[in-house]
């Protein structure tokens, strides 16, 4: 099966330091890949590279079998959606925010109806007319997820989308998010520090450290991994700093 998104031999540098050095990574249709690892491991860099937001210094990103270039990056971006840790809503109404991506992508007819459906799905349709900057963190992230799903992306890329939400709201939102993912069959890549999210949502887990892929497997396999199993133990929503053998990451 042709992967939906893939990277080959990519290198991303920040000055002289390697941020990312990955020989091969792909996202297959309908899977949810969790990217985990300590701070500075390169998870977010890999996500923005996959989203065609930051081009790699070398190597190639593929969308299906198509090579992503400067020329077609916008077309590819318009087939994806990204949700960041902060909701990043614009100074406008919640509805306008949800409809924005559709309008930017040239879908004008029915865009508002579609946006309203997704706002309802995430339980924030009653806030449609309110300025998005006045929402609470949880409400704003729900609106942000509605905005992403309204785009019906081929791949949804999420960078710690639940990290800035309080524990009670987070658990509820993860459950809702899971049900939406399953019902729509959306392919997703999720960057997270929280193994609860990995177990709840992911079908495959990739461990990154120092910019390279260290391990790969199902969440259950990673949970018992001799080096990386520590990521699953008592690290919910905290920064992972120790390997299971006690050495510092």
């Amino acid at each position: 099966m042709t992967p939906l998104l893939a990277v080959k031999d990519i290198v991303v540098r920040r000055g002289r330091r390697f941020c990312l050095k990955i020989d091969e990574f792909c996202v297959r249709p309908q899977e949810v890949v969790a990217l985990i690892g300590p701070n500075g491991a390169g998870k977010s860099t890999l996500l923005t590279t996959l989203a065609c937001l930051t081009p790699p210094d070398s190597g190639t990103v593929f969308f299906g079998s198509e090579k992503v270039t400067k020329k077609n990056a916008l077309t590819v971006r318009r087939k994806l959606a990204v949700v960041f840790q902060e909701p990043l809503l614009l100074d406008n109404t919640v509805l306008e925010n949800t409809v924005l991506g559709l309008r930017l992508r040239g879908q004008k007819q029915g865009a508002e109806d579609k946006a309203r459906i997704w706002l309802k799905r995430f339980g924030v349709d009653h806030l449609a007319g309110q300025n998005a900057l006045t929402l609470s963190g949880g409400e704003a992230q729900r609106a942000s997820l509605a905005r992403a799903f309204a785009l019906e992306p081929k791949v949804l890329l999420l960078d710690e989308p639940f990290a800035s939400i309080d524990v009670i709201s987070r658990t509820a939102l993860i459950d809702e998010f899971k049900s939406v993912l399953e019902s729509t069959g959306t392919t997703a890549v999720l960057v997270t520090h929280d193994f609860y999210e990995v177990q709840a949502l992911a079908s495959r887990t990739v461990v990154l450290d120092q910019g390279t892929i260290q391990a790969e497997g199902t969440p259950a396999e990673i949970a018992v991994h001799k080096t990386w199993g520590g990521l699953s133990k008592g690290v919910s929503a905290t920064t992972i700093t120790n390997r299971v053998d006690g050495s510092r990451l």
Partner: protein, 232 residues
């Protein structure tokens, strides 16, 4: 202190009696400073947006120049513009010396760094991730800049207010390149200086009140616009 009260009454009298010279001076003040602000807005906003987001060689030098330009003394600007437009100057052939056009050019040079600098600062206060989010939503380059501008519109309005406030209050540049020619290039600030030099303090005060009315009126209108948008 009686001077102040008398000056205020005289200002009202001049305005209510429809004094042609005062109206002509006030109108030219609005025209010159309004046009300079508009031009600095057209040039300064894209410049501020670009300097805030783009990374290019020499950016620090350009940003430093914009920041330094925010405190440019109007007299220095007047002197340099006069040197260029003087009959024997490199642009003397244009015949702009002692014209309102030369005053507009000088005032634009004064307002431009303010508009560009404050726009740049407004954009830099946005989360860098917001830029990525806008691109991720599928914005083309033109849509991207438009959305960024929309996000910083309150900051841009503040920049316009600061730019207009600075140029309507300056006197050095207008005096140097406009010449304070009666019925032609005389604006409120140059008139005030003239009346002070003549010892005509009550008229100078009256003109200063008119200048304050105009300055406050325009700024108030921009503030209303800014705050109304804030409530969307």
């Amino acid at each position: 202190m009686d001077f102040i009260g008398q000056g205020f009454i005289k200002a009202l009298q001049l305005l209510l009696s429809g004094d042609k010279e005062v109206y002509s001076i006030a109108l030219l003040t609005i025209k010159v400073s309004g046009t300079a602000t508009l031009i600095s807005l057209i040039l300064g906003v894209p410049m501020g947006l670009y300097f805030a987001v783009a990374r290019f060689r020499g950016r620090e030098f350009m940003v430093g120049a914009v920041n330094a330009g925010m405190g440019l003394p109007p007299t220095v600007v007047g002197l340099w513009v006069a040197l260029f437009f003087w009959r024997r100057g490199p642009l003397g052939f244009l015949g702009l010396m002692y014209t309102p056009a030369a005053m507009v050019i000088a005032q634009t040079i004064i307002a431009l760094p303010l508009v560009a600098g404050l726009t740049m600062s407004a954009v830099q206060q946005l989360s860098p991730k917001l830029r990525l989010q806008i691109l991720a939503l599928g914005a083309s380059p033109l849509q991207f800049w438009w959305l960024i501008l929309h996000e910083v519109r309150l900051g841009v309005l503040a920049a316009v207010m600061a730019g207009f406030g600075r140029v309507i209050a300056e006197v050095g540049a207008s005096m140097a390149v406009g010449g304070n020619v009666r019925w032609y290039s005389r604006v409120l600030t140059t008139s005030i200086v003239l009346e002070v030099n003549k010892g005509n303090f009550s008229l100078a005060l009256a003109l200063s009140f008119i200048l304050l009315f105009i300055s406050y009126g325009v700024t108030y209108w921009l503030t209303v616009l800014q705050q109304r948008r804030r409530q969307v």
